[in-house]
Structure formats: structure tokens, C-alpha cells
């Protein structure tokens, strides 16, 4: 492009101001990219069981209340139910509280049918099922702690009065849930005194169209029992779990919007100053034949470049930082696999271009509409 040199030179004519503005944009877009990455993380957690045709049955009172084993037989007998598995969230940690990750006691014999989207090799599955203290560990968690199959690990108690002592017997792969540990329900029950109660039943359903009906049927079945239930799809269950933290999505969206609004105002001030300083030059350009739309295009390109470079530094900075940084460890297991993905980068870059257009639109339009004689007369 013939005008690229003019645009580039104008962009850096006041280097300090341009660099400070870019840094400001970079900091804000880093912040926005991080918030979006956290939201994305929550969203992927909520969607973890999408398409798996699973229902989760918990106590109607709260997740902390347990349900009797006896419910399971009745649920399994409902037409359309393929199988069920008991699953108990343990909430233990490894060595230090900062090494927090999801760990569950599960019916090992039901694992392959109910959790069929968790990919396990036949050898690993057999070894896991054969050892009453065996553990099946997510691939990313293995990497995080540099564990190997055969390693012995001890988890520290937080909720239940026992410290699970486990031997890693295999690994599983899952597109989202890659940082969990599963171990046998039998070991858990024996360790806490075999109370015959569990937190959740996970129900594999044959036809996804039947999920709503089966869900209602389960809750109706136990409505008048001592242990009434509430049944969710897996997605609803995860979303409920996330909602315990409050409306994080609304909060993050509001904070991001405020940050973007702030950056629009700050960029508009910088761009207005920049355009104002060049009134005479713009008048000269127009005098020698630069048409109004060409002046507009040149100035808008310059302003959009400013915000796009700032946005790219911030959002790609967050992208590369989270690639090389264990957010799970830093957040005590709260944020596993945090990453600024392509979709978030695209949102950030589109927003950065939008900021350039909105903030630079008015000064660029005003400059391009400038009458040559007014511009030449102006003393800035």
C-alpha cells in the first residue's frame, strides 16, 4: 500500500504517547482475555458431560446430604435407563492444599458403561478394577505432578475422616475433564464405616429424548420418601455447582464491559489529541489532492492499528503466559487448564478493532471533513 509509510510514521510520531497508549490497551486486553478465559474454563466445565446422556441424582435438600444405596436399584429399573453408578466427591488434596483437584469414589465396575466418554485402555481399566486401592488419573494431572502408572499417592482429608492411599493403575483421557482422580467406592465406604449412603447417582440413559421424562420419573418416585431427590442433566448439575460461586458470568461480563468502555474513552482522548495536532498537515494533504475518504481511511487505519497492536500484545500475552504457567497450581486447583483459546483471541482482536473504530471514528471523520482553508488558518 502506497500510504503504509505515512500511516506508520504518523502512528509513531509521538513514540512515548503511542507506546503508553499501546501498553494501556495491552494491560486492559490482558485483563479482558484473562476474564474471558476464566469464563471459558467455567463454560467448558459446565459442558463437560454434553452428549453423554447422563443424569445426576442428588438429595433434594442439598448436595451435602447423602442418599441411601437402596435408591439405585429402583432408578436402574426405570425403562430407558442403561445403567447407574454411585459417585462421591471426596474433596481431598495432594500433599499441600494448593494441590487441589477433583477426586471421586466411584463404582469401578460401572465406570466403563456410565462414563463411556472417558477413554481408558483395556489394560488400565482391568488393573484399576482389580485393585481396591487403585486410582484412575486424568492425563493432565499425571503430567502436572509428573506421576507414572504404579506410583503410590496419598491424598489428605478435608471432608471425610480418611486419607485415601492409592496406587495409580491407569490413566484416562477426556476432552475437558483431564485433571480428576477416580478410586473405588468400596474402599471409600470401608474407610468411613460403610454407611450405605452416597452423594450422587449417575444415570446413563439410552435415548437423550427420554432424559427429561426419566428425570421427572426419578424425582416423583422418591418425592414422599425420607430421602427425596432432585435430578439434573449433567450440564445442569455442573452449572448448579458453578452457580454456588454466584453469578460469575454476569460479574465478569460487567467488569469486562467497564474495562472496554474505559479503554474506548482513553483511546478517544489520545486519538483526538493526535488528530488535533495534525490539523494543518491534514489541510495540506487535502490541498494537494487527498480526497476526504482517503484522509478518513488513512487516519482510521492508523487508529485501528494502534488499538489492534495494543489488543494483540495484551490478549496474545495472556495466551502465551497461560500456556507456560500452571494456573491450576496458582489457584489451588480452582482453575485447571486455563487457556486463552482461539475464540477468545478472536473476540479480543475484534473488540480491539472495534475500539479503534469507535474511539477513532469521530476524530478521523472530523479531520477528513476539515475545510482546507480552515486547517491552513489554524494555529495549533
Amino acid at each position: 500500500m502506497k500510504f503504509a509509510k505515512l500511516i506508520r510514521r504518523n502512528l509513531f510520531r509521538n513514540k512515548l504517547r503511542t507506546i503508553l497508549t499501546m501498553l494501556l490497551l495491552a494491560v486492559i486486553f490482558f485483563f479482558v482475555a484473562t476474564l474471558l478465559a476464566i469464563l471459558d474454563n467455567f463454560e467448558s466445565f459446565s459442558n463437560a458431560g454434553e452428549g453423554a446422556n447422563r443424569l445426576v441424582v442428588q438429595s433434594a435438600i442439598s448436595l451435602a446430604n447423602l442418599l441411601p444405596y437402596a435408591h439405585e436399584q429402583k432408578i436402574r429399573a426405570i425403562p430407558g435407563v442403561v445403567d447407574t453408578a454411585k459417585l462421591q466427591w471426596i474433596g481431598a488434596y495432594y500433599k499441600e492444599k494448593s494441590n487441589f483437584f477433583a477426586n471421586f469414589a466411584v463404582d469401578v465396575d460401572k465406570f466403563p458403561t456410565v462414563f463411556d466418554d472417558y477413554k481408558v485402555s483395556p489394560q488400565d481399566l482391568a488393573a484399576f478394577q482389580a485393585d481396591r486401592r487403585g486410582a484412575l488419573v486424568g492425563t493432565d494431572l499425571m503430567k502436572r505432578f509428573n506421576w507414572k502408572v504404579g506410583d503410590r499417592i496419598t491424598l489428605k482429608r478435608q471432608i471425610f475422616p480418611f486419607d485415601p492411599e492409592l496406587t495409580i493403575r491407569g490413566t484416562y483421557f477426556h476432552p475437558v475433564q483431564t485433571t480428576s482422580v477416580f478410586f473405588p467406592m468400596e474402599y471409600f465406604q470401608q474407610s468411613i464405616g460403610n454407611q450405605g449412603q452416597v452423594g450422587t447417582f449417575w444415570v446413563k440413559v439410552r435415548d437423550p429424548k427420554q432424559m427429561a421424562a426419566i428425570s421427572q420419573q426419578i424425582d416423583a418416585m422418591f418425592k414422599n420418601s425420607d430421602y427425596p431427590t432432585e435430578t439434573f442433566t449433567e450440564k445442569e448439575f455442573q452449572q448448579n455447582f458453578m452457580s454456588m460461586m454466584g453469578n460469575v458470568k454476569l460479574l465478569f461480563t460487567a467488569v469486562s464491559t467497564c474495562a472496554i468502555f474505559m479503554v474506548v474513552l482513553l483511546a478517544a482522548i489520545t486519538m483526538s489529541m493526535s488528530a488535533r495536532e495534525r490539523v494543518t498537515e491534514i489541510a495540506v494533504l487535502k490541498a494537494i489532492g487527498f480526497e476526504q475518504r482517503l484522509v478518513l481511511a488513512i487516519m482510521l487505519t492508523e487508529f485501528i492499528l494502534l488499538t489492534a497492536i495494543g489488543g494483540a500484545i495484551g490478549s496474545y500475552g495472556a495466551h502465551f503466559l497461560f500456556m507456560s504457567f500452571d494456573a491450576g497450581k496458582a489457584t489451588q486447583g480452582f482453575l485447571q487448564n486455563l487457556g486463552v483459546h482461539a475464540k477468545t483471541l478472536a473476540i479480543c482482536m475484534t473488540t480491539a478493532v472495534g475500539v479503534g473504530l469507535i474511539a477513532g471514528g469521530f476524530p478521523a471523520l472530523r479531520a477528513s471533513n476539515l475545510r482546507v482553508v480552515d486547517g491552513l488558518r489554524r494555529v495549533v
Binding site: 505515512l6 504518523n10 495540506v284 480526497e291
Partner: protein
């Protein structure tokens, strides 16, 4: 003589808030091709306004302006911009070079609006800088040049497209005597050797002496000149 600029009964009124300020009150003037005309007059007499009108950067309130047979007073803004890029070279009092571009790039600016190749542009720019005697300063930025050199770069920018008309608004107003003399000599050379038609606004009678003729404006009217009355009457 072949008339290049033909101005007929041109009026210009500026609006300042609720007030109307008449600047030109029916000026009629003909500028022959190859002329070097100096416009003189006190501040506010309308000489810069008249220059701006014939250069197509302002529009008259009434009357008509023909340049090279085309009535530019009827052109749209876009048509005027395109016309200016091909037919008018501007020389300003404060040089008005783009500070972020070097001498070569400043002179090249008007050529960016043409379809010339990069090589052709380079040849034109080198030729223009050669004419003004700054071939060896092409990579210097305006801040690295003296006032006189800056004005010569501005003149090179004005002539690089080989325009029909050169307009100069107080071209020596910001220069010392030596540089002013050099600039005027250069303008005279452009008129004499390259047959450029030049219209120059000036306060300085010594500068006006370099022109072929001088016209005086007062209160928006042409009043006298060496050949002014004759030209006004002939127009």
C-alpha cells in the same frame, strides 16, 4: 494572450456566527498562461481568499472561476480534490512539510495520488529536488533542514506533478533576506525557464518586483497595479 485563470465578478462572504463578513466584492481578473502575478494589499483585503479561490481550496459566494477552460467554481469537493492534485501546486508561508517524512517522501506525496510506478515516482522526485538544488538532501527530515531549504522542498513538492498553476501564499514571509532572495529567484526561474504560471500573495514590495506584474487589493476590490487596471478592464 491565452488566459489560464479567468475570474468573473467573484464575491466571497464569510459567515462568523450571526455576522456576514464580505471579503471579495466582485473581483474580475484574468491571468494569462505563463504569467507571474503578485497580489498585494493590506491584511484583510482578500488577497489570500482570492488565491484560495483560484486554487480550488475555497468556493466563491458568487461569480465564476475558470481555470484552463474549466469552471472550477461548479466542481464538487471530490472533483476539486482530484483537479487540484493534477493542476495546482501549493507553496505556503510556513512550508507545511509533513515532519514525519523526509524531503524525498514529502515531495513524493502528491505523486502517490497518481498511477505512476515506484520507479517513475522516484525519477520525478529526483528531478524536482534537482531543480530546487536539494538533490543531496533527499533523506533529510524537515527538522534537519534550514528554513530556506524547507521552502525549496515545498516548492519541489509543488512542481513535482508538473501542475498548470503554482500558487504561493507569502512564500518568503518566514525567511531571512538571503533565503527569501533565493526562493524568489527560484520562482522566477520556474516561470521563465519552465513557463510555469505563478500567482503569489505577498506583503513585500521587493518580492513583488520579481513578478511580471502586480495587482493590489483593498477592501475586496482590485484597485491598481502596474498592469492591474488594464488587466481588470480587459477581463
Amino acid at each position: 494572450m491565452d488566459t489560464l485563470v479567468d475570474i468573473n465578478n467573484v464575491r466571497k462572504v464569510y459567515k462568523r456566527d450571526a455576522f456576514e463578513v464580505p471579503v471579495l466584492n466582485g473581483v474580475t481578473l484574468a491571468v494569462p498562461r505563463g504569467d507571474f502575478l503578485a497580489l498585494m494589499g493590506p491584511s484583510g483585503s482578500g488577497k489570500t481568499t482570492l488565491l484560495n479561490l483560484m486554487a480550488g481550496i475555497d468556493r466563491p459566494t458568487g461569480g465564476s472561476i475558470f481555470v484552463d477552460g474549466k469552471e472550477i467554481s461548479r466542481f464538487s469537493e471530490t472533483q476539486l480534490a482530484s483537479w487540484r492534485s493534477r493542476h495546482v501546486g501549493f507553496i505556503f508561508q510556513m512550508y507545511n512539510l509533513i515532519p514525519v517524512l523526509n524531503a524525498f517522501e514529502n515531495v513524493e506525496l502528491p505523486l502517490l495520488l497518481t498511477k505512476l510506478s515506484k520507479k517513475e515516482r522516484r525519477e520525478h522526485v529526483q528531478a524536482a529536488l534537482g531543480i530546487v538544488g536539494l538533490g543531496d538532501r533527499s533523506l533529510h527530515y524537515p527538522r534537519q533542514l534550514s528554513g530556506g531549504q524547507e521552502q525549496r522542498v515545498a516548492i519541489a513538492r509543488a512542481i513535482v506533478t508538473d501542475p498548470t498553476l503554482l500558487v504561493a501564499d507569502e512564500p518568503t514571509g518566514d525567511l531571512d533576506a538571503k533565503n527569501a532572495q533565493e526562493t524568489l529567484d527560484l520562482l522566477q526561474r520556474l516561470n521563465h525557464d519552465f513557463a510555469k504560471t505563478i500567482v503569489m500573495v505577498t506583503h513585500d514590495p521587493k518580492a513583488a518586483q520579481h513578478a511580471k506584474r502586480t495587482l493590489h487589493l483593498e477592501k475586496g476590490l482590485l484597485v491598481e497595479g502596474r498592469y492591474g487596471a488594464e488587466t481588470a478592464a480587459n477581463a
